[in-house]
């Protein structure tokens, strides 16, 4: 597969995953703010912005409506949902012959949805519905991607983009929440704390899945364990890393070229970190550093993918 095409598919997918993450976190923050006790609006927004990676040009200024609108519609801000959707569509447009018509139509529809005249007014009058319908659009796209596209290299690059972005975003989110999480007062009965914990789980669409595994008894260590180490839940970091591993292996199988040591080692290290460490060990050590390492590893893996599959030097390719 052409390197440029692989790169575009990868970024199309990363951008959509990023948009989805932003939609969910914004949605959770907005609904938590309905309960005015406990954490203040300012604190929540600072936390939201931190877990989105502290995007430049978005500082809490007290104007809730303007902030929300910017995070959704400001097409010049790289953190906004619109920016991500634009990025995904632009990448898709450049590899129009590689993706299925269904994928293209879905993505096109999503694009026109955020750009429709009146979209901002509609959003202002009903935030939840708008966010929900954007989320629907993204889900539909992912669905048709999996069902209408041949599962060869191109699809694997889509998966690489999706799971790398997801692992990175989840690690960022947990790193931001983790200090608060570990210092919760014992035996809180006001219910605010419970809401916070549900909010964190919902940021990763994992509340219901969590309950199935641990019951509705929400404790910080279990939540961390679930979101970090669960091997069966698609939004757990370990699951994402396993998928990265699968995809790289599959790309190697179809391409016949061995990935470089550093790439397999990078993924292998993450895989081992998450597969062979218990939550007790993590908590007794330095959880913040642990999460930080995951993020760093993700960035490195991205770099290796780019250097090895997309932007390799001609000399190195000719000497093989």
């Amino acid at each position: 597969m052409l390197s440029r095409v692989a790169d575009s598919l990868y970024w199309m997918s990363r951008y959509l995953e990023r948009a989805e993450n932003t939609v969910r976190q914004l949605d959770v923050t907005m609904s938590l703010m309905l309960d005015t006790g406990g954490t203040s609006a300012e604190q929540r927004w600072r936390r939201l912005l931190a877990s989105l990676g502290k995007p430049a040009g978005l500082e809490w200024n007290g104007d809730l409506e303007a902030m929300t609108s910017a995070l959704v519609f400001d097409s010049l801000n790289p953190a906004s949902i619109t920016f991500c959707v634009n990025g995904a569509r632009e990448n898709a447009r450049q590899v129009r012959e590689e993706i299925s018509s269904e994928q293209w139509q879905r993505l096109n529809r999503l694009f026109h949805q955020v750009h429709a005249p009146g979209a901002q007014e509609q959003f202002a009058s009903n935030v939840n519905d708008t966010l929900a319908s954007i989320l629907d659009g993204i889900h539909l796209f992912k669905g048709v991607s999996d069902t209408t596209m041949i599962h060869s290299q191109g699809w694997q690059f889509i998966r690489l983009g999706r799971y790398l972005e997801r692992a990175y975003a989840s690690a960022t989110l947990l790193e931001v929440y983790q200090p608060d999480l570990l210092h919760l007062a014992e035996g809180d009965t006001t219910g605010y704390q419970y809401l916070e914990l549900v909010g964190l789980l919902r940021c990763c669409t994992s509340f219901e899945a969590y309950c199935q595994v641990y019951t509705a008894d929400l404790t910080p260590d279990r939540i961390l364990e679930f979101l970090l180490l669960n091997r069966d839940f698609p939004h757990a970091i370990r699951y994402s890393v396993d998928c990265l591993n699968d995809s790289i292996e599959s790309i190697q199988r179809t391409g016949g070229r061995r990935p470089p040591e550093e790439l397999t080692a990078g993924i292998g290290r993450l895989h081992a970190m998450l597969g062979y460490t218990s939550i007790t060990e993590i908590l007794s050590g330095n959880p913040s550093a642990f999460l930080h390492t995951i993020r760093e590893q993700c960035m490195r893996i991205h770099e290796y993918i780019y250097r090895y599959y997309v932007h390799y030097s001609i000399q190195s390719a000719l000497s093989v």
Partner: protein, 487 residues
């Protein structure tokens, strides 16, 4: 479903204009031509709203498939749906036979001309075509001199524009020998039409065109360099901002080949490679949809990054086939065009089966004086332009426009030609609820590999605006499906 009463033929025709121009559907007396009768009867039988309903469902098919093109030179200048008309244009087997023979003859001669000019230049030595006309052409590429081209095929893909005059005779208006476009609209039109008029289509016995991508692939494969039995064939596009990008993606998908941009290609030791996730992969045949100028910054325009540095040397070394060859624009120069019938006589010893349109060369003093005196009656064209750019239509022009063109002609006469304003044929189109005649041309697509291959049909382009003579999609033209009949 509510169905109104069927339309009568008279209501259908309404104020249908019939004058001295040839009408594809009706005789001068108003009678429907025999091969159009089944179509007319079907239309007359349809319930009142049915045509509009079918039009809407066909519109939707184009829209959701994103069949678009890009218009340059406008601020909003972005994607637009390619406008089309619902009614097919019919061509009888007999008419097609003549077109096919005429185009085969013409393309064969044009290819021989290119080969000759870039090798011995006999036709110039024999003074059939003036030397300065060829060497002053801006599409002449001296780099092609003495270069051996695979199978001696310079023009593998051609689209020639035909018009039908009021005598009923088809003439060639121009040849597109560089990167002719529009074939994807021919193919998508057909797909939509088969769904819109399934029964009518069957009853007519229309010759198929759907195998065009396969023929194109076979043509490109036949031109692969020696010793490359499983050639890697790619389509080279300028990228997503090109007006024909939709077509590039469409053809690449239909042929199952990679769509590459210049930045995907690298050359090493005069071999072209593409960057893939599995490393560098050798490229054997390039179906080039990038103009000469932008193909290789080392040889042509150095400020362009659309092509691939070193491509031309790899081509010269015979390690990669590029189709069409470089420098083919020489033979579709509108001044060289005037000499095509003489070329046919010179190389093939035959008379042209499809005649040319009468053409004045403005570099000739006498003809120039005549043209400048009659600017309001003639069509002036810049010789190296295409797509309807750089054109003056005398009868529809303002005095200021004519003055401007006169000035440009005086400044650079070699750059312009003039032709009479042609009364070319009209075909019925669906306008609101009635049929109205609009001017049409015909662009068949010719493939030239082992031999000349023409899929029966082509793109019928329509000047959708009433009275307009401009059919170019970049200038508000549309298209129709073209049905070549078995009988």
């Amino acid at each position: 479903m509510s169905a109104g009463p069927p339309m009568e033929l008279d209501t259908l025709f309404g104020d249908y204009l019939l004058d001295h121009a040839f009408d594809e559907m009706r005789e001068a007396t108003g009678e429907v031509r025999p091969h159009y009768r089944a179509l007319a009867e079907t239309l007359a039988r349809l319930p009142h709203d049915e045509l509009q309903r079918r039009k809407q469902s066909a519109d939707l098919a184009f829209l959701t498939q994103g069949i678009t093109f890009t218009v340059y030179g406008r601020d909003e200048g972005t994607e637009r749906i390619f406008p089309y008309d619902l009614l097919p244009r019919l061509i009888t087997a007999q008419e097609w036979d003549r077109i096919e023979r005429g185009l085969t003859q013409r393309i064969t001669a044009l290819n021989l001309f290119l080969r000759d000019v870039y090798s011995d230049a006999k036709i110039l030595k024999d003074r059939i075509i003036p030397r300065e006309l060829v060497y002053s052409c801006k599409h002449y590429r001296r780099q092609m001199r003495g270069l051996q081209v695979p199978r001696n095929v310079y023009i593998a893909v051609v689209g020639s524009d035909l018009l039908r005059l009021n005598t009923g005779e088809f003439v060639v208006l121009e040849d597109n020998l560089r990167v002719p476009s529009g074939v994807s609209y021919m193919l998508t039109n057909r797909r939509v039409m088969k769904r819109t008029f399934p029964r009518l289509f069957t009853s007519y016995g229309v010759r198929p065109i759907e195998h065009y991508p396969q023929l194109l692939l076979a043509t490109l494969r036949s031109l692969a360099p020696e010793g490359r039995p499983e050639p890697n064939i790619v389509l080279l596009t300028p990228g997503v901002f090109n007006s024909a990008y939709f077509e590039h993606t469409y053809l690449a998908r239909q042929m199952g080949i990679d769509l590459v941009e210049g930045r995907d290609l690298v050359t090493h030791d005069n071999v072209v490679y593409m960057r893939t996730t599995d490393g560098l992969k050798r490229v054997d045949v390039i179906y080039r949809r990038v103009d000469d100028d932008f193909s290789d910054p080392l040889v042509f325009r150095s400020d362009s990054s659309l092509g691939c540095a070193g491509l031309f040397n790899a081509y010269r070394a015979g390690n990669v086939t590029v189709s069409n060859a470089f420098g083919t624009g020489l033979a579709d120069d509108k001044a060289v065009y005037a000499y095509v019938p003489r070329m046919i006589r010179y190389y093939l010893g035959e008379e042209a089966i499809l005649p040319n349109v009468e053409t004045y060369l403005l570099s000739e003093e006498k003809e120039r004086r005549h043209v400048l005196a009659n600017l309001d009656k003639l069509v002036i064209k810049a010789v190296g332009e295409s797509g309807g750019y750089g054109m003056l239509i005398g009868p529809h022009s303002t005095a200021a426009q004519r003055e401007e063109f006169a000035r440009q002609i005086e400044a650079n006469p070699r750059n312009y030609i003039a032709q009479p304003t042609l009364d070319f044929s009209r075909a019925p189109c669906l306008v609101n609820d009635a049929l109205e005649p609009r001017h049409v041309d015909l662009r068949p697509y010719i493939l030239f590999g082992d031999k000349v291959n023409i899929v029966p049909g082509g793109l019928t382009r329509v000047a959708l605006e009433k009275g307009s003579l401009v059919v170019n999609s970049s200038q508000g033209g549309g298209s129709k499906d073209t049905w070549v009949l078995q009988q």
